[in-house]
Symmetry: C2
Subunit: 396 residues, 2 copies
């Protein structure tokens, strides 16, 4: 079998520092005052976007989707944290447009080419005076150095505990991105933002294909709590003229998006353990995805992992498999847990082998799960459920 996707390019990938600023010609910066942050990224070219499937889309998403449909290009991205500008009616739409105008005049680019993103609590209006001040300061600080990207990544954080950046080099081209999580995270775009740049030359259609494919393998395979945000957005901008085949680029982009997605899962609200589920033997890829995500969404599985209890986790994983699969026979189910040091076979051919829990003591758990003899497989990422998740989200 010829290896496809990120595995086929993994050996050729060189990791870079600098996030979006690893891509020549891209400048970025950001700052925050208390919980209100603002980021600007400058770098023009053909662009593609993926947006939440939530039916109540926030104003900046409606605005940016329209922009992209009109021009197919992005010249700059302006993103604020601390207010989602969601469920804000006509005033919200005017404010999203006003954000684009502010970026447009600060950077002397066409308003039609500004993408706008927001993240934070739903149902509040933006403080436009603050944003106006912040845009001026951030525009003055724009930099092509790694510190510029890091400042932008920090500015868009909400309950994130660390900024999220990744950059890679493949076949001479560069791809760099930043992202934020970390609550309301569920497939088909979570409350997450990610902005990705590349100096590879691809037309808008190819960028869209590559971004959709890479998102399906990465951001759409992370689960923190199963809630789907009104504000999710991933943007990809091609600023350069470097040559690469679409297939190679797609695989490189998949790799980058997976790294960013894993950072989001790792930083889930209240998380103490990162979980990777590798699901095999399903009747189709879509069934494999559904089962993997059901396991990572289960509060019971997540609680058992936080308590490092194999005996509790095992039966709950089985229940999650049974409730999300179309057809599964108990004697075809196998399950093993791995951490950095050891692998423990928990279930084999439908029989529970052990309840030894040492393997769950680490901070990273890989679950290898087989549910049958089909060809369908998928990998998904998530985290455990702790009291701190409840506390963060109860506002206490």
């Amino acid at each position: 079998m010829v290896e496809q996707g990120y595995r086929s390019v993994k050996m050729d990938i060189e990791e870079l520092t600098g996030g979006v600023c690893a891509v020549p010609g891209v400048r970025a910066y950001g700052l925050r005052e208390k919980n209100k942050g603002l980021a600007l990224i400058e770098g023009a070219g053909e662009a593609a976007g993926v947006f939440t499937t939530n039916k109540l889309k926030a104003a900046p998403l409606i605005f940016t989707e329209r922009q992209l449909q009109k021009t197919g290009r992005i010249g700059a991205i302006i993103a604020n944290s601390g207010c989602a500008n969601s469920f804000t009616g006509e005033e919200g739409m005017r404010n999203a447009e006003r954000m684009a105008e502010l970026a447009s005049s600060a950077l002397s680019i066409s308003k039609e080419e500004v993408a706008v993103a927001s993240t934070g609590p739903i149902g509040k209006q933006l403080e436009m005076g603050l944003i106006e001040r912040q845009v001026r300061a951030v525009a003055a600080g724009l930099s092509h150095h790694p510190g510029g990207s890091a400042a932008a990544a920090r500015a868009i954080m909400t309950t994130d505990t660390f900024p999220k950046e990744c950059a890679v080099k493949l076949d001479g081209i560069r791809i760099g991105g930043i992202a934020k999580g970390s609550g309301m995270i569920y497939p088909n775009m979570a409350t997450m933002l990610s902005f990705i740049y590349t100096d590879a030359r691809l037309d808008a259609e190819a960028l869209r294909r590559c971004l959709r494919y890479a998102c399906d393998k990465s951001f759409n395979m992370i689960v923190v709590d199963g809630d789907m945000s009104t504000n999710d957005m991933v943007l990809l901008v091609s600023t350069g003229e470097e040559e690469i085949s679409e297939g190679r680029f797609m695989s490189g982009l998949e790799y980058l998006c997976m790294e960013l997605a894993k950072l989001i899962a790792r930083d889930g609200e209240g998380a103490t353990k990162f979980i990777e589920v590798r699901l095999r033997g399903a009747s189709s890829e879509s069934e494999a995805k559904r089962i993997a995500r059901a396991i990572l969404r289960s509060p019971l599985v997540k609680s058992a992992i936080s308590g490092a209890r194999v005996d509790l986790a095992c039966g709950r994983i089985i229940a999650a498999i049974g409730s999300s699969s179309e057809n599964v026979a108990p004697d075809k189910v196998s399950l093993s847990f791995r951490n950095h040091e050891e692998e423990t076979l928990i279930v084999k051919g439908g029989r529970i082998i052990t309840n030894r829990s040492e393997v769950l003591n680490g901070e990273e758990i890989i679950m290898d799960i087989t549910v049958g003899e089909g060809e369908g497989e998928a990998t998904a990422w998530g985290c455990d459920l702790t009291c701190d998740y409840v506390k963060v989200n109860a506002g206490s």
Copy 2:
């Protein structure tokens, strides 16, 4: 509009004590040793059952479904707690059958007419020696007094904090039931058991129709954590000869099942607040159900309610509506919260009116939610998410 369902009979319903023993001719008893309980209910007649849709069904469900298909009757129910007899292979099937044999010989009835149920952790074999001893003791204690039903209801508890019983009288007939929750609770049967008896005379086909309808309106509308068990089962047995129309009986059964379902939601693991969602204006009943359950499943909504934070709950409810509905316009969304003392309008016509949180201070919250102008409506029940849920399920 002619009122349908339980509302049409509510005025005529008289609540009784005694659970299943409120029905003449039914005897029950139960006992427990540490976390291992056993209950027996005796009372023969035509019967119907509803079972989990989980693809990995536990042994007692496979056994009982077959029995019902063969005979259409139940003479007795034997149910244990402390072990689900799920994911237990052929030994599990033999043990389920053995439980039926034990009840059969203790009560001198045909083995073909014994229904078997189990609840507890998945993946462990039953301790048949213990069950054998318990069957003898419980059979000796069988009683038609209310205490018999109460003992059976207590015996099937797992993490439940109180036993769940309800009985009603309508048009001269009686319906009485017991139930247990209280984790792994999600529509299409939660980890819940309920056993219901009636002295109304209805054939097996009518019983099936009535039970399916009542379950859809009650047990399938409660959400504790969104996990679906391998062991859910509701059984309905008609032991008597009293006359009633199928429509009236169905409404009475709906009322009884809703009362039992609400007790399960109220006793959700770690719950401090009971939540009722009344959803109106959806395009169909199925969309209304989907939205209501999505709201009650959201860990973010549930956490915000536990913290009594209207400001946090509001936006998350909006996100849950948007992610679970087919089509919703922000300006058609209205939301109000009620407790025993006051009602607070939170969102009207898409505008957030207030963030005052006093209304969330009580232990019972009713959410009246309108999502459009359609005819679809549904009511669902759930509870908040607290640290205690995590602690209970982390085994700490």
